[in-house]
Amino acid sequence: MIAFALGRLGYALAVMLGVATVAFGLLHLAGDPLAGLVPPGAAPEDQAALRARYGLDRSLPAQYATFLGRAARGDLGDSWSQREPALAAVLDRLPATLALTGAAVGLALAVGVPLGIAAGLRPRGPAAAVAAVVALLGQAVPGFWLGTLLILLFAVRLGWLPATGLDSWRSLVLPAATLAVYPAATVVRLLRASLTGTLRLDHIRTARGKGLPPSVVLRRHLLPVALTPTLAYVGLQVGFLLGGAVVVEAVFAYPGVGQLALGAAVDRDLPLVQAFVVVVAALVVAANLAVDLTAAWLDPRLRDVAVRRDPAPTGRA
């Protein structure tokens, strides 16, 4: 297990090296990285000074080495639009986004798990019909549009909840509900399919055959098998959720890291965007690592898979 964990950790670092390379490449993707920073008509010597200040006058490999070296120490440069280190600016906004994402995941599980279980157990029952609608609509309705409608109903018409900003937990309700819709639909689909598949397994037949009450079969034999791939999948969707959070933050003017990054894109503040890219990717990689290690801890068979994890444990039933 320790060898497996170290191998996974090493691979996670290799992925982060790739992410850092992409972030570095951003700076040079569009030609002159200073194009948006230098005022038009600036004197050549001022431009040269600026270039030297940001280390842009050196060769590309030298810049790359410096960037990686600093990034490894947690220094992603200073934001061009805000007078502070880019990483600090991102980390400053991160808790708000994590609160939003966490609340959304909790909500998605709170709705999706019971509904998915009910639908999986009785494929022709009323819960299954509700689940089918949730699964279909939840994956089709655009979050940014749903958020708009929720603002219209709960903030404008009814006045129950604030439409924008972040003042108290009440500000979190509408954005979290909006962000939770898609993952809730996914959880319903996966769990329904996973249960349907698990119900056919031999050990369930045996458990029933020996006369266990249905509730015990469900709790002891069915859920552990059916729930694990679903939870693992949620863990692997952290990146998708963080991406969705950016959109939802825009709808609700929620002061999270996504709003910061959108502003940085408008300002062409490359160091800030780089820090955003690296931080989001680090969260995704860390979540994937956690899922892998937990899964391997629970199920020793998975430890043989060495470094390469292949088909993600998605909807396998």
Binding site: V156, I204, L262
Partner: protein, 329 residues
């Protein structure tokens, strides 16, 4: 992962759609000898699987037909709509601002009402449908081509090439599409091509993974081994002998991805990261309508509902395609 999760076949196949009577162990009520009457095809567990399967396959599922209808409406609207709707989508009419749609007291001259600049919403909807459809299809094709090429490369080689592609896929998966879009918007000029590029770059991994795995399995297949033993080179082997056998799963991923791409394009346009300002898109229309939400809800509700229906249609069609390709009717 930026794409809509490519659910394995089982994910959709609860007993009602697998075309097979569920094993009796599923039947919870001992009185019922099986989930009787799966849509009236005599779903007794005693019915032979094949005849039920065949008959079910002849009749397309309701969801698939609804999806087909929705996508067909979208396609027709995008192709001929702009020719049929007389109004100019960009013409402003400040005296006729925020006119309601017909069902909310508007007039038939402007069936879906107008926005905050008095522009005809129906005319804008059909023009916006073009962008949605164009970007959705183009991004799916580019992502598919990229993913199939890389997956085939990784699956038909061993060693560092394979590891490099797998690593690149994992790096890509660490970068959600909105993040990539923000990074791209910071550095590149906005445009339809930029949006397609962004979506394709974030959408190739699903294809690459499935193609790599299938190619790996195919390498051991007798006909591939036979071809190799008579001296077929690796490139020809991959393109002529393996690729044609991989297109089924690729088509499934693609059919499920188009709708997601349409949704993502709208999200980018909504955020202002998409096509250049001035281009009419559904996402942009939803954003426009947000300012007048309290007084004129329809300005963003109409494009939003159309988008939801389009994505729903695409998803239903994609699921149907998946079921057909995987032989579950």
């Amino acid at each position: 992962m930026a794409t809509r999760p490519t659910l394995l076949p089982q994910a959709r196949g609860d007993a009602a759609t697998t075309g097979m009577p569920a094993p009796s162990s599923v039947a919870k009520r001992p009185s019922a000898p099986g989930p009787a009457g799966t849509v009236g095809v005599g779903g007794s567990p005693l019915a032979t699987g094949t005849s039920v399967g065949h008959r079910r396959r002849l009749r397309p599922p309701l969801g698939g037909l609804v999806g087909l209808a929705l996508v067909a409406i979208l396609a027709v609207a995008a192709l001929v709509g702009p020719a049929l709707v007389p109004a100019d989508p960009a013409a402003q009419d400040l005296t006729g601002r925020l006119a309601p749609p017909v069902w909310a007291g508007g007039d038939w001259g402007r069936p879906l009402g107008t926005d905050h600049l008095g522009r005809d919403l129906l005319a804008r909807m059909v023009v916006g449908a073009r962008v949605s459809l164009l970007v959705g299809v183009a991004a799916t094709l580019v992502a598919g081509a990229l993913g199939v090429a890389l997956g085939l490369l990784a699956g038909s080689t061993r060693g560092w090439v394979d590891r490099l592609v797998t690593w690149a896929a994992d790096v890509q998966l660490a970068l959600p599409f909105v993040v990539v879009a923000i990074a791209v918007a910071t550095t590149l000029a906005p445009g339809v091509d930029t949006v397609v590029l962004t979506l394709a770059v974030t959408g190739w991994v699903g294809y690459a993974r499935i193609v790599r795995l299938q190619a790996r399995a195919l390498r051991a297949a007798p006909f591939v081994e036979a071809a190799r033993s008579v001296g077929v080179g690796p490139v020809r082997l991959a393109l002529r002998h393996m690729l044609p056998n991989l297109l089924g799963p690729v088509a499934v991923v693609a059919s499920q991805q188009v709708a997601a791409m349409v949704l993502y394009e709208a999200a980018l346009s909504y955020l202002g990261l998409g096509v250049p300002a001035g281009t009419i898109t559904w996402g942009g229309m939803i954003a426009d309508g947000q300012e007048t939400l309290a007084t004129a809800w329809w300005v963003s509700a109409v494009p939003g509902a159309a988008l939801a229906l389009a994505v729903l249609g695409g998803n239903l069609l994609g699921d149907w395609a998946a079921n057909v390709v995987e032989g579950r009717g």
